[in-house]
C-alpha cells in the first residue's frame, strides 16, 4: 500500500514547510548542501548497509539472464513437468506423479533447480525468482517515477495557483485518497488483465505489465501530491519566490526554476519510499491475480503459486516473500536515511 505521509515525516497539508535548503551552510564549509547530505548519509551506517543490500538485490535480479543461460539452462517460463534431474547418482522427478515439485537442490545438479521447481509445471524456481524480481522492481521503479512525476506536477499547480485550480486538484486527490484503493485497484487490475485498455492512442493489451503499472501509479499519486502541495503552499510565501515574481518571472519559471529545486529533497525521499510502497501494492495485486499475469512471474505471483503448496513446499511462498520484505525494508530504511541526510532539522 502507498506510504502514509504522516509516517514519512514530511510536512503535510497542515504542517509547516521546511526551510528552503540554503546554498551554503552557515558553518563556513566550502562544500554544497548535497555534499554535506551525502556525508551525513554515509554516517548513517544502517542506511548504508541497507543501500548495499538493495544494490545486491538489484545485481541479483539483473543477473537473471546469465544464471538462466549459463547455470540453469532454462528460461523462466519453460516447463519441465516430466523431466528428471540427475544428481547423487540417481534421477529425480522434477514433478513427481503426485504433483509435488522438486525441493531445493542447491548445486547438486550444477545449479539447475537451485531452489527446486516452482509448481506442478516444473519451472526453475531460482530463475523465476530472478526474473520475477526484475519485473517487481521494474514495476516499483517505473510506477514510482510516474507517481512522483504526476504528484509533483499536480502539487506544484495546486500549491502555486491556489484558488479554483487548487480546489479542483485537492478535492480530486481527496476523492482518490478516500477510495478503498486496494479494492478498486484489484477490480481495475482484473478488468485490465482481461480486456486490456484502449483510450485514444493509448493501447495496452491484456497481460501487459503496463496495466498494473498504470493502476498503481494513478492510485498512489495522492500520497505524494498532497504533501508536495503543502510544501509548495509554504514556499510560495517565501521572499525568493516573491522576488522572482517581482522580477517578472513567468508562473512556469517560478514553479519549475524557483520552487521545484527546493522540493528536491522531498521528492527524492518520496520517490524512494514510493518504490517500496508500489512494490508491495504490486505484490498484493499479483497475489490476487490482478497484477502481473501468468506465465510471467513477479514475487507476488510466486507467493500466490506457492500458497497452494504451503504445507508441503513452504519455501515456494517464503522465499519470494523474504525477497519482497528485504527490498521494501531496504528502500524504507534508505528513504528514512535520505530524509535525515537531506533535512537534518526534521529528525
Amino acid at each position: 500500500m502507498p506510504t502514509d505521509p504522516q509516517t514519512v515525516g514530511q510536512a503535510g497539508d497542515s504542517g509547516a514547510a521546511p526551510e528552503a535548503v540554503p546554498e551554503q551552510l552557515s558553518n563556513g564549509s566550502e562544500h554544497g548542501p548535497w555534499y554535506l547530505a551525502y556525508k551525513r548519509f554515509l554516517r548513517n551506517r544502517v542506511a548504508v548497509a541497507f543501500l548495499i543490500l538493495f544494490f545486491l538485490i538489484v545485481v541479483f535480479v539483473l543477473a537473471a539472464p546469465i544464471w538462466a543461460s549459463d547455470v540453469a539452462h532454462t528460461g523462466p517460463n519453460d516447463t519441465h513437468t516430466l523431466e528428471k534431474l540427475h544428481y547423487d547418482g540417481e534421477g529425480h522427478d522434477v514433478v513427481n506423479p503426485a504433483g509435488q515439485p522438486l525441493g531445493p537442490v542447491l548445486f547438486k545438479a550444477g545449479g539447475k533447480f537451485f531452489l527446486g521447481a516452482d509448481s506442478r509445471l516444473g519451472r526453475d524456481e531460482m530463475v523465476r525468482l530472478m526474473y520475477g524480481g526484475r519485473i517487481s522492481l521494474f514495476i516499483g521503479v517505473v510506477s514510482g517515477l510516474i507517481t512522483t512525476l504526476l504528484a509533483v506536477i499536480l502539487g506544484l499547480l495546486a500549491g502555486y495557483y491556489k484558488g479554483w485550480v487548487d480546489a479542483v486538484i485537492a478535492r480530486t486527490l481527496d476523492v482518490l485518497w478516500s477510495l478503498p484503493v486496494f479494492l478498486i485497484g484489484l477490480a481495475l487490475g482484473i478488468s485490465l488483465a482481461v480486456g486490456g485498455l484502449k483510450i485514444g492512442p493509448l493501447e495496452l493489451s491484456s497481460g501487459s505489465i503496463w496495466n498494473p503499472i498504470l493502476v498503481i501509479s494513478i492510485f498512489s499519486v495522492p500520497y505524494i501530491a498532497r504533501p508536495i502541495r503543502g510544501e509548495v503552499l509554504a514556499l510560495g510565501e517565501k521572499e525568493f519566490v516573491e522576488a522572482a515574481v517581482a522580477q517578472g518571472a513567468s508562473p512556469l519559471r517560478v514553479m519549475f526554476a524557483e520552487i521545484l529545486p527546493n522540493l528536491a529533497s522531498t521528492i527524492i525521499v518520496f520517490f524512494t519510499l514510493s518504490i517500496a510502497a508500489n512494490m508491495l501494492f504490486e505484490a498484493g495485486l499479483s497475489f490476487l491475480g490482478a497484477g502481473v499475469q501468468p506465465p510471467n512471474s513477479s514475487w507476488g505471483t510466486m507467493i500466490s503459486i506457492g500458497e497452494e503448496l504451503l504445507t508441503t513446499q513452504p519455501l515456494l511462498a517464503i522465499i519470494p516473500g523474504v525477497m519482497i520484505m528485504l527490498t521494501v525494508l531496504s528502500l524504507n530504511i534508505v528513504g528514512d536515511g535520505l530524509r535525515d541526510a537531506l533535512d537534518p532539522k526534521d529528525r
Binding site: T79, T81, A98, G99, L121, V194, S205, G289, E308
Partner: protein, 547 residues
C-alpha cells in the same frame, strides 16, 4: 444451460481458501452399528445452488437432492457403468415407446405418499415439468422436445399439450415432437421429479422445499450454510408400491454444512469431526491422505472429459494438419502430474464409463513429429491467444498448453479469466481472439450423445452460450449425431458412437487430455466398502453406514 453445472463442478473439485466452519462429529451412538441408523455430518465446499429438484443444476445439489426426490425413472443404485443404467423409479416399469419413438407411456405406482402425507399423483409429474419452464430452470432445455412445451413456456398455452395424465389410473403419456434416444435418461434426472401443486410454480422453493418422495426428507434449510436431511416417514409407501430400485436410508439423519476451507475439511475428517467430505482433498494434502488414511480413502471414477479446443474456423486452426500436429505435441501424461494424479490421461472425446467408450489414441505424444507436421503445414498466422480459467490446476493446464505452443513456434498470448465468467466469455462469439483454450465437460446424463450434440454438432454453434468452442461444423458428422440421437441406445448405437469419437478425433478439433477422478474420504467409523459412487450423481448418501 449446462454451463452452470459445469462451472460449479469445476469449482467443487478445487481447493478454495477461505474460512472454516466448525462441524460437529456424527452421533454414532444414536442407533449406529451395522448400518442401522446414526447421524452423519457431510462437508461441502459449495452449498447446493438450489434446494429445489426442478432448479438445482450443480454437482453439490444433485448429490444431496438425489436422496430426496425420486423421478418416474431413475438410475441404478450401483457404481461404475452399471450405475448409468436407467431403471424404473416411481413408475411401475420402463416406458412403452411407440415405434416412431415419439410417444412414451408410463404408469405411476399406486398409493404412494410424499413425506408430508400427500398422495403422489400422476399430474404432479406435469406440474414438475411446468415448473421447469415457469421458474426458468436450466434443465428446461431437455424438455423442449415435448409437444406444446415451447408454447407453454412462451405463455401461449396454459398446459403442456404433449403430457396427458390420469390421477385415477396413474397413466402418463408424453408426446415428443421428434424421436429422442436420450429421453429415458432425461426422465431419470431430478428435473422430472413429481412435486405437489403446493410447491410454488414460478419460484425457487429453496427456503421451503417440496415434500420428499425419496428415502430422506429435508427437515431444515439454512441456505447457504447448512441443511438437514432426516428419514422420510412415508418412504415406506414408495417401497411398498414396489420401487425396489430406489434404495432406502441407512442412517437416520444427515447434516450438510458448507465449509469453504478444503484443508480444514481434511483435518475435520482426519479427526473424525466430520464423516465425509464431498470434494477431493486439496492437492497439497492428497498425498498425506492417501498414505496415512488409505483405508478411509479411495479414488472414484467420474464421467468427464478435459480438453483443449481449437477454433476450426480461423487460422491457423482451420488447417487440419496444424490441429493434428498440436495433438501430437501435447502430452497427457504431463497433465496427469499437473492435476496431482487426480486425472487419468486419455486422448479421446468419450470418457471411460460412458456407453460407447472404446479406448482410442490417434496421437501418441511425439514432439518431433508435431514439429515436422507443423513445418509442412507452414501456417501463415502464428499469433494465437490461449484461454483458460483461474481455477487451479486448470490455469496451470493452460500455462502448460501455452508453453507447448510456444515450443512449436507460435507467438502466444495467455488469457486467464475468472472461472465465474470464463464460459460466458469464451461462449460469446463477439469475444475477440478466441483461438484456442481449455475446457471440460461433465455429463448431464450418462449417454454418449451428451458429449457430441452440445459440444461438436454444427447446430450447437451459438452467438452466445456457445458450447461448441471449436466451432466445428461437419455436415456429414452432424447428420450422424442427429440420426443417433433419435435411436434408443443399444450395442449397435454404442459402436456407432465409438466410431463417431474416432472420426472427430481424426479431424482433431480438440486435444482431449484426461478424465478427472473424484474421491471418497470418510471418518474412521464409516464403512467405506459399502459406499456406492454413481458416475452421474456421485456418492449415494443412502449407502453411508457406520461400521
Amino acid at each position: 444451460m449446462y454451463t452452470l453445472r459445469k462451472v460449479v463442478a469445476i469449482a467443487c473439485i478445487t481447493p478454495l481458501a477461505g474460512f472454516g466452519v466448525a462441524a460437529c462429529g456424527g452421533d454414532k451412538g444414536a442407533g449406529g452399528g451395522g448400518g442401522g441408523g446414526g447421524d452423519i455430518n457431510v462437508a461441502l465446499t459449495s452449498f447446493p445452488d438450489y434446494v429445489d429438484p426442478q432448479l438445482s443444476y450443480t454437482v453439490e445439489g444433485w448429490e444431496v437432492l438425489w436422496n430426496v426426490y425420486t423421478p418416474l425413472l431413475t438410475y441404478k443404485h450401483a457404481k461404475g457403468k452399471e450405475g448409468t443404467q436407467v431403471v424404473p423409479g416411481l413408475a411401475e416399469k420402463m416406458p412403452d415407446i411407440s415405434p416412431d419413438g415419439k410417444t412414451y407411456k408410463l404408469k405411476l405406482r399406486p398409493n404412494m405418499k410424499y413425506s408430508d402425507g400427500t398422495s403422489i399423483k400422476a399430474s404432479d409429474f406435469t406440474y414438475g415439468i411446468q415448473r421447469l419452464f415457469k421458474a426458468d430452470s436450466g434443465g428446461s432445455v431437455f424438455f423442449d422436445v415435448i409437444v406444446g412445451a415451447k408454447d407453454y413456456a412462451d405463455g401461449k398455452a396454459n398446459t403442456i399439450s404433449g403430457i396427458k395424465t390420469d390421477d385415477n389410473t396413474g397413466d402418463i403419456t408424453i408426446e415428443l415432437t421428434e424421436a429422442n434416444g436420450t429421453f429415458e435418461n432425461v426422465l431419470g434426472l431430478m428435473f422430472a421429479a413429481p412435486v405437489p401443486p403446493s410447491t410454488p410454480l414460478d419460484k425457487d422453493a429453496t427456503n421451503s422445499p417440496p415434500p420428499s418422495s425419496g428415502p430422506f426428507m429435508i427437515s431444515k434449510v439454512d441456505a447457504p450454510r447448512t441443511m438437514t436431511l432426516e428419514r422420510n416417514p412415508n418412504f415406506k409407501t414408495v417401497k411398498d408400491a414396489g420401487a425396489d430400485e430406489v434404495a432406502g436410508a441407512n442412517v437416520d439423519k444427515i447434516t450438510v454444512t458448507e465449509n469453504k476451507n478444503n484443508s480444514a475439511q481434511v483435518t475435520d475428517i482426519e479427526q473424525n469431526k466430520v464423516d465425509f467430505m464431498a470434494d477431493p482433498p486439496a492437492s497439497d494434502r492428497l498425498q498425506e491422505v492417501k498414505t496415512r488414511y488409505g483405508s478411509r480413502f479411495r479414488m472414484e471414477q467420474s464421467i468427464n472429459t478435459y480438453y483443449f479446443w481449437m477454433n476450426t474456423q480461423t487460422a491457423p486452426f482451420n488447417d487440419i494438419k496444424v490441429r493434428q500436429a498440436i495433438n501430437y505435441a501435447v502430452d497427457p501424461e504431463a497433465l496427469e502430474r499437473i492435476y496431482s494424479g487426480g486425472l487419468a490421461a486419455t486422448h479421446q472425446i468419450l470418457p471411460e464409463g460412458i456407453p460407447g467408450h472404446k479406448p482410442l489414441n490417434l496421437y501418441p505424444h511425439n514432439l518431433a513429429k508435431a514439429k515436422e507436421m507443423l513445418k509442412e503445414a507452414n501456417p501463415s498466422d502464428m499469433d494465437i491467444t490461449v484461454w483458460t480459467d483461474t481455477e487451479s490446476p486448470n490455469n496451470e493446464a493452460g500455462e502448460y498448453y501455452e508453453s507447448v505452443l510456444k515450443e512449436l513456434g507460435f507467438n502466444t498470448k495467455l488469457k486467464i479469466i475468472n472461472a465465474d465468467n470464463y464460459f460466458t466469455i469464451i461462449g460469446n462469439k463477439t469475444t475477440p481472439d478466441l483461438d484456442t483454450g481449455w475446457s471440460d465437460w461433465y455429463e448431464d446424463y450418462p449417454h454418449p450423445n451428451d458429449f457430441f450434440q452440445p459440444l461438436l454438432a454444427g447446430e450447437s454453434i451459438l452467438p452466445t452460450n456457445n458450447g461448441n468452442f471449436a466451432n466445428i461444423d461437419e455436415p456429414k458428422l452432424n447428420k450422424e449425431i442427429a440420426k443417433l440421437s433419435e435411436e434408443q441406445l443399444g450395442p449397435e448405437q454404442e459402436a456407432a458412437y465409438a466410431e463417431l469419437d474416432k472420426k472427430y478425433m481424426e479431424l482433431a478439433p480438440w486435444i482431449p487430455y484426461g478424465q478427472r477422478t473424484l474421491t471418497t474420504f470418510v471418518a474412521s467409523n464409516i464403512n467405506l466398502e459399502n459406499i456406492i459412487t454413481n458416475p452421474t450423481f456421485f456418492q449415494y448418501l443412502t449407502s453411508f453406514e457406520f461400521k
